[in-house]
């Protein structure tokens, strides 16, 4: 099995690569559509901001590829956020695969922004995924038709989404110790 980590700019692609390697799964980091089409599944990372990630995908001709693939694809953090229609972060139009918007945490809700640290996730469909995961984000989706995991930070928000071949997590499984490994294994099992 080979996983293609989609290089959409931003730093820290290596952490995702290493987390699969620790699980004994082969992964490559690439932005070539040709190389990606030979893979069994994809990870869409995304560190940075929604507009930068979208612009990079556009420049590298990856938008249609992501929207049309039927293979399992995991979006992590901003990688999950751009599955939605729109992000408040620099007013960015996103992929529109999942109905809904991305908004910003508000210090008036009594929380520090960004959210940085370990938060509890409760999954409606699979309670073996419940646990603490590592988050580092200022933006979030409140709720969607495809949300299967929730966390709370000032308000309740979507921490896991699932629709057909699409899986998304607001946290960083590659940095979430044993819980993160379990989540990545859940993704790998869907391949």
């Amino acid at each position: 099995m080979n996983i293609g980590i989609i290089d959409c700019g931003g730093a820290n692609l290596n952490s995702i690569y290493y987390s699969f390697k620790r699980l004994g799964i082969n992964a490559i980091i690439t932005n070539s559509v040709k190389e990606l089409s030979e893979m069994n599944a994809y990870v869409l990372p995304g560190v940075g901001s929604a507009d930068v990630v979208m612009n990079t995908l556009r420049k590298r001709d990856l938008i249609n590829f992501i929207k049309s693939t039927k293979k399992p694809i995991l979006g992590i953090c901003i990688g999950m956020q751009i599955f939605f229609d729109y992000s408040e972060e620099n007013q960015t139009g996103c992929l529109g695969i999942i109905d809904g918007n991305i908004e910003k945490f508000n210090v008036n809700d009594g929380v520090n922004v960004p959210q940085m640290g370990w938060n509890k996730v409760e999954c409606d469909t699979d309670n073996s995924l419940n646990g603490h995961y590592y988050f580092a984000n200022s933006y979030f989706n409140k709720d969607s038709k495809f949300t299967i995991g929730y966390s709370s930070y000032g308000n309740k928000f979507s921490s896991i989404i699932k629709k057909d071949n699409i899986l998304g997590c607001q946290f960083h499984p590659e940095k979430s110790s044993k819980a993160g490994e379990k989540f990545l294994t859940y993704f790998i099992k869907s391949i």
Binding site: Q115, S138, Y153
Partner: protein, 255 residues
């Protein structure tokens, strides 16, 4: 809500983990890789690697070990020390670090904070502040890696905290220098004073000696995390035991 973070800090000098008392007299305590693996396995929530010699001697932190750390641990980690530019930060983040922490270079060039936040997002940008009380005022010090170069900036700590937040800092590590390395407990008075104006997470640093010090910093201040070095390096406190203790005190902790 977020759990309170326990953060071992590994002060790195010439490729080894060291610990000094009040920023001087450094002694070697072990290898970076071994200690990182040990704390990861014991349940640390995050690690900080602080290259204490780097800013002082005008060098930048060697990047090779960052990649090795990223390969072996599965929790977030932050690298500090001599990061003066976007390209320094990019190299460290690309090698697998989650955040960079800047201290002296931010004081010398505050716009660097803004540039880093724009390029990598605020969540990657941590500002380290070394602060000490002087004539009833908290003052920021720079170049604290070596007692020969240590400098009073004459900037009041609360003003600097305001400024770094407005420039896009995503987290602050407040090192209370009066307490550093002496294991008398965190500086709760200073932390509470500084937390008043802090919208980003603030990590308490300096002074941890007993497990009760961690209980105090989490029950008597709103610090998001507690950083410590010598108590962990000398095995005076074992992280999983500390976390069990805090959990039993009804503190929100990940175990």
């Amino acid at each position: 809500m977020l759990t309170k973070r326990i953060i071992p800090c590994l002060d790195v000098k010439n490729g080894q983990v060291v610990k000094g008392i009040k920023f001087k007299d450094h002694e070697v305590v072990g290898s970076i890789i071994e200690l990182a693996k040990k704390y990861n396995d014991e349940g640390a929530d995050e690690l900080v690697f602080y290259d204490i010699g780097a800013s002082t001697y005008d060098g930048i932190v060697s990047k090779d070990w960052v990649k090795i750390i990223a390969e072996i641990i599965n929790i977030p980690f932050c690298v500090a020390g001599g990061i003066k530019s976007i390209s320094d930060a990019k190299q460290i983040l690309n090698n697998g670090a989650d955040k960079v922490s800047i201290n002296t270079p931010a004081l010398e060039n505050p716009d660097l904070i803004k540039e880093l936040a724009n390029e990598f997002g605020s969540q990657c940008v941590v500002i380290g502040i070394d602060s000490m009380i002087e004539n009833n005022k908290y003052i920021v010090y720079s170049n604290t890696g070596d007692e020969k170069t240590i400098k009073n900036t004459h900037i009041e700590t609360n003003e600097w905290i305001d400024r770094v937040q407005s420039l896009g800092a995503g987290e602050i590590v407040l090192n209370c220098m009066n307490q550093d390395g002496v294991r008398n407990g965190y500086d709760l008075v200073q932390l509470n004073e500084m937390l008043k104006n802090c919208d980003v997470p603030l990590i308490a640093s300096g002074g941890a000696g007993r497990i009760e010090d961690f209980q105090d910093v989490f029950t008597k201040t709103k610090s998001s995390g507690a950083l410590a070095a010598s108590v962990f390096h000398k095995n005076l406190i074992i992280i999983n035991e500390l976390k069990e203790f805090l959990l039993n005190q009804s503190i929100n902790i990940r175990v």
